[in-house]
Every structure is written in structure tokens, then in C-alpha cells.
Symmetry: C2
Subunit: 243 residues, 2 copies
């Protein structure tokens, strides 16, 4: 049975990390909220699943995944759950927990990138928090972005399985997530990302290698890949980038 | 062999979620950075373990746990790794992923609580970001705090194993983490927390039940439990609370 991915239909957002795993594995899935309301899909189907009073495990927020009767929320938990079936994680418990740890660190950086344009409240527009956004974005670009990318470079360097992957000698969902993180940073902060990435060649190489995987490349060319935009996690507001 | 917990020695912080799990299970552990430098402990031992160039899996930040030769960072990953051995999670993969999902949502709320006093940068003092902190804290107290607590109340209500626990009919690390979250919110935002908790009686009851568990109660009375303070995650700045 096809997986049901539930996420907002007009942005890549956090759902994109799950979508990339499903696409890279060639797994059958329905992107529910992007379907037609007349076919029982669309945003009403997402909201219906999330607010279903009979659901014992309601997710706090999208993305969430329906896997038969099971419903799983939280990006990192979804990936942890899916990865063994999708063969996107090594089998040992030790490799699973390390892959999860990397994913959680990607997630932390994603949260910080998001908060550059929403430092005060997710319930306000960017336009209502611009001075604060400018201050936060400067700190993010100058301090946090190089620090996080430096850590990813370091763990690639030290991977006993080789620097072509984050964990062992095979593709994992952590590689896909780091690919997406770099794509987002390059979109949102082209100058700051370029300056930091100049010092992390292994991260750059991994990004290019993932982009060239046949299934990923086909997905990126397809209409299923939404473009980045200014409603998503990664937004291009030139005033927030470094000069 | 005793676990080694590595975390900053003067704050509860994110390390407290791991400490509570170890304490509630009666597991032997060394709180490394709180030990004496003369005994090879203290902050230098923490920094040494984190910056060890021979470590293939260096953590991005504390807390991290050494379990024999294994090193695990990221609070939620540490708890996921420890919980089966500590008997703080049910055995099924489905229960493990749901418990993890709850923990990640606790972690998200913790991040947001932290950012009320650090909305701009972790590398600046609170005093350097006070106007922004005031705006962010108002949004947190009015919107986010009731929303998160409402979700925890809802999943307690709906737990097929009964409303005394978050997952099934037994204590899990998610219960301990929700206990700690409520303690922190009550410390940092006494008015806002009281107003929101008045509408979440099951969360309040769970907090009291966890506080009364013999091992937890003994820990809370001990010197091992650091008091809340204004260097930690949850800080009492009365100007940030609701009136």
C-alpha cells in the first residue's frame, strides 16, 4: 500500500526531507494535500487526519506520514521509522542512532534558518518582524552557518566508511537531508552559503553526488519538486544575506 | 560499567532530560563535568571528549552520553538509545517511535522556551536582546505555551493505556520529560504556566505523579539536582511573563 505523506501543498518545508527519502527509494506514496479535494485529498484531508478525534496518536503539526494504520509525526521520527524499509539506513542499532543524531542536527539548523525570518513569532508575517530578523540573520550567517557546516565536514572527513557518505559506505537519509539543507541555504543566503561552503568541500561534493542520483535527479526535474519560495523554511530576502 | 553523562556543570539545561531518565531508572552514571579536574573530570574532560580528533562520531554539542565505546549526542537520540535498557520505553517499534515523537515535541517546546530570552543569538547576553525577547516571550506565553500543553493534554486523554501515562500503561522517558518541561515552565513563567495548566489537568496530575516516584523524589531532594537559574534554558525574568 502506498504511504500517505501529509504536508502543506505549496512549500517544500520540513515535508521535503520525507519526500526526498521516498523519492530516492522509489517508494510509492501519495502527497495527500497536493491532491484534488474532489478526490478526497487536498488540505481538508490533511486537517481531517490531524484533527481526527478518534486518532490516539495525533501529530502536533505536519509533516506526518500514514503507513497503513500507523501515523507518525516529527520529521526525524518519520525518517527513523521509514529508513529500514526504504534501505536508507544501515541495519545496526548503532548506525541507526548515529544517523538519527545527524538528522536531528540538520533539524536544529533548519529551525535556526527558519527563525532568521521569524525570530519573534510564527503567527506574524516577516514584514512585522523585520528589524529583529535582520539581527538574527546576521548572527546566523556569521556564526551558526559556518559552525554547523564545519561539523558536517568533520564527520564526513572522519567517517570510517569513507567521505562519500555521512554514515558507513552507503547512502542514508542523512545524506539526502544534508543535500536538501545545502540547497536551502544556497537559495536563502547565496553569499553566506558560498563563503561557508568554500571551506567545506566534502559537503559540497556530497550535495552534488546526491543531486546526480538517478531517482533524485528525475525527481528534481519533475513537477513533484516544488520550487523554493517566500512562504517556506528557506526564503530569499536579500537584506538578510551577507554582502 | 557506569554511563558517562557529559553536560555543562552549572545548569539543568537539556542534560536534565537525560539525568532524569538515568535517575528514575536507578542506573549508575557519572556526571562528568561536575567532577573534579584533579580526578580527570570537570569541563576539560567534557571538552576533551567532544573535541577528540580520534572520535569518528563527535557530538555537535552537549549533552552527550558515553556508553562504553559508544558516544551519542542529541537529547532525543540519547533517550531513544538508553530507554530499552533502562526499561523506560515499551518494546514494540511502534511504541518506541511514538515515544520518540513526543520527546521531539517536548524538545521543540524547549527550544522555543529558550528562545524567549535568546531570540537573536546564543552568542549574545539576554541584556543585549531584551526588546526582542519581550516580543518573543509574549507570543510564546499567549500562543505557543497553551498550544503545546493542549496537545500533551489531548494525547494523555486519548492514550488507550490510560491517562496516567503518555504511552501505554507504564512510565516512559516521555513522562519524565513532560514532568521536567512543566517544572521549567512554572519556574520561568509562573503566571503564564498557571493560566495554561488550569486547562490541562491531566498534565498537572502527571507532573505530580512523576515528582512522587520514589527515585525521582529522592533525586529532586539531593544535591545532584541543580536548582533552576538564569544561565539555563528556563530563566525567570518577570518582565517576560504574563501579568
Amino acid at each position: 500500500m502506498a504511504y500517505e505523506l501529509h504536508y502543506w501543498p505549496t512549500i517544500q518545508g520540513r515535508g521535503e526531507f520525507v519526500r526526498l527519502a521516498l523519492e530516492a527509494a522509489g517508494a510509492p506514496y501519495v502527497d495527500v494535500a497536493r491532491g484534488a479535494e474532489s478526490a478526497g485529498r487536498g488540505v481538508p484531508a490533511l486537517l481531517g487526519a490531524m484533527d481526527d478525534p478518534a486518532q490516539p496518536h495525533p501529530p502536533f503539526a505536519p509533516p506526518f506520514l500514514k503507513d497503513g494504520a500507523l501515523i507518525v509525526g516529527q520529521t526525524a521520527a518519520i525518517l527513523h521509522h521509514l529508513a529500514p524499509t526504504l534501505k536508507l539506513v544501515a541495519r545496526s542499532e548503532q548506525a541507526r542512532v548515529w544517523t538519527q543524531q545527524i538528522q536531528l542536527t540538520v533539524g536544529d539548523m533548519v529551525d535556526e534558518a527558519h527563525d532568521t525570518h521569524h525570530p519573534i513569532s510564527v503567527n506574524l508575517y516577516y514584514e512585522d518582524q523585520k528589524p529583529e530578523a535582520l539581527r538574527r540573520a546576521q548572527a546566523f550567517c556569521r556564526e551558526r552557518l559556518p559552525k554547523y557546516l564545519g561539523w558536517f565536514e568533520r564527520i564526513l572527513e572522519r567517517n570510517p566508511g569513507g567521505s562519500r557518505h555521512l554514515v558507513g559506505g552507503k547512502l542514508s537519509y542523512a545524506d539526502l537531508s544534508l543535500f536538501q539543507l545545502v540547497e536551502g541555504l544556497r537559495y536563502a543566503f547565496p553569499n553566506a552559503a558560498q563563503q561557508a561552503l568554500a571551506r567545506t568541500p566534502l559537503v559540497v561534493a556530497l550535495n552534488a553526488r546526491v543531486a546526480g542520483l538517478p531517482r533524485v535527479a528525475a525527481y528534481l526535474r519533475s513537477e513533484r519538486r516544488l520550487p523554493f519560495n517566500e512562504q517556506g523554511l528557506f526564503r530569499r530576502y536579500p537584506e538578510l544575506d551577507l554582502p
